[in-house]
Amino acid sequence: MTMLAETMAVAGFQLRRMLTPQRVVIGLLGAVFPAAVLLAARRIGGQLDRNFAVLLVHALIPEAICMLGLLVTMCPAVADELERGTWAYVATRPRGRRALLLGTYVAAVAWTCGVALIAVVLALAAAGVSGGGGLAAMFGGLVLLSAVGRGALFALPAVVVPKRALVASVGVAIVVEYLAGFLPAIVNQVTVSLRLRSLLVSWMDWRRQLPVEFSMILDPNPAWVQIGAVIVLAGVLLAAAVLILERRQFPPADES
């Protein structure tokens, strides 16, 4: 209970710090951008095919907006803590290190989900497709899983190389999520992108319509396995990040 309260205290603290005018503007742009793309597509091609619109929303929001949202929140928050010397003040609290990491994670996930959920509502309205309520619920789930899984993924570079966290996280995103995630090999099992893709195909009931080659970049297991895999992956990554942070030392040179 205390750990949860301490984590939420850090999350509240980080959310207040995140509410800078620049970040609010970036968030608004992120929320509006997918809708603008869909409106542009409709303007060029007329009424959008429902499946094409869903695919586009998936690529733009759970994949792109969530990834970018986490990149501009999780990594800078940790790097900023270190560079401004505030990390030392949290690290000297009884369970401060893990509260700092988990609180920052909760704040980054909350911020990203907020922006992405607004983007989903606007994008579905702009797409003008049928069954918007059901699609919104489905994308809500995908957004939450994307933020939970990738936030944990970005926690590792944030603690391993805090001063280069953003660059390292972009590298991780490209290599792990977009290269390994699309490899038809066992390595894609530990990526969030495989789980999200498989869930999308399952929830949209697309599996029978897809060419057989696509089965190599999809997981055939039911939805609960995909959801469970993301949660387990996030748990393992966060535990590793906490362990590294607990063992990390803060020499005086780190503060200058």
């Binding site: 205390t2 207040r16 505030t86 003040y89 000297t92 030392q249």
Partner: protein, 250 residues
């Protein structure tokens, strides 16, 4: 309350050589005592304090806060510790009240205790006029007081303060040190590093002088300065084996 016994801390430098930042330091600060840790830049003061603050692990030796070994019981040590680093690290966008509340919550203080504690600190640290103003708009003295308040929010018995007056002007420095004297009289054990000998020499009960990672002298001001017309400053220069600066005659 604060104990350091034969503390050794080595770093491996980028070129592979081992830097002996702290090399067998021992010191003690008892409850109701304020001890000044003196030394030139790079003498090992900050490293010693960071080991006490559980930010660094000792290579060998022991460091304890309120009986809790920083290596084996870091959580216990942190519970009794208030730490101020040379960098204030106060977020610009948050107000002093918000910062004190946040750190109190991180310490697990309940809402009633927390509000009471925050208001008390805002009062004693003279932050009432700026308690709801973002820290980015505060003076360096006010920011330093917020930093100290953050260290005191859980009412720790041991305070480890690394150059807390470095960013302050003469008035701010005097007020802060007077406040520390009050805390000492309430039974807090305070270890304070500083370069400003003249400000601390009448306020600290004892001094520990370190040079190149080793304790080269320690004792009361009177004992260290005995027989030296230049007082504590001359004793400091003698201990670190450097000549005292010559007096400039106009």
């Amino acid at each position: 309350m604060i104990e350091v016994i034969d503390l050794v801390k080595h770093y491996r430098a980028a070129d592979g050589t081992v830097v002996r930042a702290v090399d067998g330091v021992s010191l003690e600060v008892r409850p109701g005592e304020m001890v000044g840790l003196l030394g030139a830049n790079g003498a090992g003061k900050t490293t010693t304090m960071r080991v006490l603050a559980t930010l660094l692990r000792p290579t060998t030796g022991t460091a304890r806060i309120a009986g809790c070994d920083v290596r084996t019981h870091p959580i216990g040590a942190r519970r009794h510790l208030g730490y101020v680093s040379a960098t204030t690290g106060v977020p610009d966008r948050l107000t002093p009240r918000e910062i004190l509340r946040s750190y109190g919550r991180i310490h697990g203080l309940g809402p009633d205790v927390l509000e009471d504690r925050v208001e008390k600190l805002v009062g004693v640290l003279d932050l009432r006029s700026c308690a709801d103003r973002p820290c980015g708009r505060l003076s360096s003295g006010q920011r330093q007081r917020v930093s100290l308040g953050r260290a005191l929010v859980h009412d720790p018995q041991a305070l480890v303060l690394d150059e807390p007056t470095s960013a302050l002007d003469v008035m701010g420095s005097r007020d802060l040190l007077d406040f520390l004297v009050t805390l000492r009289s309430q039974g807090h054990a305070i270890l304070l590093s500083t370069h400003r000998l003249h400000e601390t020499e009448r306020r600290c009960d004892r001094f520990v002088i370190i040079d190149a990672g080793k304790v080269v002298a320690q004792g009361t001001r009177e004992a260290l300065a005995a027989g030296r017309p230049g007082g504590l400053e001359e004793a400091f220069f003698a201990a670190v084996a450097r000549p005292a600066p010559a007096e400039v005659v106009p």
